[in-house]
Symmetry: C2
Subunit: 344 residues, 2 copies
């Protein structure tokens, strides 16, 4: 029921995912509305519907939204808890979906905090940035866990055998950054150097600066949710600003306009690459069940992509992978120990 | 002596600034080298040279660099302290110039920390983002001061009568952000609401998100130096990524290439707008003297621009403006008071 074009675009995307890719889906929301939309596509018998009378409003605060036990997101979480579903896909408000699913699915054992991961359009494979906004105030130990969550994502969704991990900070030399980044980099170095049998490998490559986010130098970039959200939105805003400015420049005169006619297919490829529909959405990692949050403006194609991403993550057993990584990962240092070192 | 093309590009830019704009300059560095370069342009008698035998290395750490009392930056700071110069322009490493000038010029009375301000290419006037990296770990009170520093900059350099100020955070609703941003927003609201006679006006417009940095909705965006540096570099990286990608797409086929011939002048305007040389550089505000840090890769044109910006800031008496604003600004709350409120 979430998203600017819901429920029509969601239902249509789901039908495509089932018919074209053989996915197994359940639709959760107001049953009569959904069934009518399915019937329009002749798909009423292809996808089961589970009723949820309530919905999260797009602008609803996180606190209000998780109080709604009958929202479509809450009911979908219940399906996961019961073992009737493996992944949740929603195009609802990120704050609401994160809050609801965090409370209802709870963190996996050993996970300090779930993190929101997004795929940046680097090549040949996307770079995973996390946390993109679930935890505005993070602790250094959380960033080490985010590295494992991101590595599991890169392996599962993009088949990267040994994901390279970097930390987002403000200088290329070691020791640069704010207190949080400096301490987290220290812990990440220690984790990467840990060769205890059974400890999950972490290929930590050190500092990544803002201008390297799209350079594809690493597969996973970890940061706190405040910095990650600002960086992600700065990148998105700058890319669309550059495109708008170029579009304006290219159509500013009759001659320039004639030029764009000659470039049509090149420009189409390009806009496709930057289309948020192409990547399927942000993924909330570290809960007892995976949550894919599609862009609020998702078309049916965006929903279809989000379902495919969800299917890849579930098929790759990402929850189990995270469990294996974090059960064997060195225990995070205690709160007291951290305080005495990082706040000095 | 600082910058990728120093000292030749610096000397040439200085000569342009003097000849074409009537600026009064002193060049500081290795006198023989500089005098020879001036002679090449027939300008040996137009610009005085002050000798400094030492230079800051581009990759030198902040700590090492401020220990060099005979570096060109240190000697230029001495000229300012003696009243023989008003502004310092350097294309040296940002870390080194910030460290050296902070120690040698010291903060103005009442200024907690100097901040690095950059101009983002919005229209009709640039948006000032600060702090762009001088203070990786900031306190909420500092962000209130940054608002005043940025407002003085927007007034002095761009003639904005009542600069609108926003805070960089991760949601549009009040109360969004990490602890630092939430507390700083609270203090900024209180400052804006303060109508005490003589108190400097602050037009605080609330939250600004990453994608709004280039939207021109406010004239000044305040944030801590870590977030500001990540955001600035993310924007720079994303814009150049978008340009490269578009360039690649536009030259990928013979037809598309033919198209770009038709668009030449439109594309030239555009690349000009994003050229870092156009904006003159970052400005370190809040010291007893202003420091303009030109891009390390500055051409002579970039240096000329940096000198013009420096001249505008000195001519507008920005140091006095900051003094007036911060002398009458409500006293920052005490450390103890802040601690008990913001760390809870």
């Amino acid at each position: 029921m979430g998203g600017d074009h819901a429920p029509a675009a969601v239902v249509q995307g789901a039908v495509h995912a089932v018919r074209e890719h053989g996915l197994r889906l359940v639709l959760v929301g107001r049953a009569r509305e959904i069934t009518a939309l399915l019937a329009e596509q002749g798909a009423a018998r292809e996808i089961p519907v589970v009723h949820a009378e309530d919905t999260l409003a797009m602008n609803e605060g996180a606190l209000a939204s998780w109080r709604r036990p009958r929202s479509s997101v809450a009911v979908a979480c219940k399906l996961i808890r019961q073992g009737d579903a493996a992944v949740l896909v929603s195009a609802g408000s990120t704050g609401g979906v994160v809050a609801t699913s965090t409370v209802r699915l709870r963190s996996q054992p050993g996970v300090l905090r779930a993190a929101l991961a997004v795929a940046l359009p680097t090549r040949p494979v996307p770079t995973i940035l996390l946390d993109a906004g679930a935890n505005a105030d993070a602790k250094p130990e959380m960033l080490v866990q985010f590295a494992h969550l991101g590595a599991a994502y890169a392996q599962t969704a993009y088949g990267v055998a040994e994901p390279r991990v970097g930390i987002l900070t403000i200088g290329s030399e070691p020791g640069k950054g704010n207190k949080l980044a400096r301490k987290a980099a220290e812990l990440l170095h220690a984790t990467a150097a840990d060769t205890t049998a059974g400890a999950p490998r972490l290929d930590f490559r050190g500092n990544i600066e803002g201008h390297d986010l799209l350079a594809g130098e690493v597969d996973v970039v970890v940061t706190d949710g405040f910095t990650g959200n600002v960086a992600l939105k700065s990148v998105e805003g700058a890319v669309s600003f550059a495109f708008d400015t170029i579009h304006e420049a290219l159509t500013s005169s009759r001659l320039a306009k004639a030029g764009t006619l000659l470039q049509r297919s090149a420009l189409r490829d390009l806009s496709d690459r930057f289309d948020s529909d192409t990547y399927g959405g942000a993924v909330l990692l570290g809960l007892n069940g995976t949550v894919v949050i599609a862009h609020g403006a998702s078309s049916s194609r965006g929903i279809e992509r989000a379902c495919l991403l969800a299917n890849d993550l579930a098929g790759g057993h990402i929850v189990d992978q995270v469990r294996r990584r974090l059960h064997t990962a060195p225990r995070p240092q205690s709160w007291l120990h951290r305080l005495s070192h990082s706040e000095e």
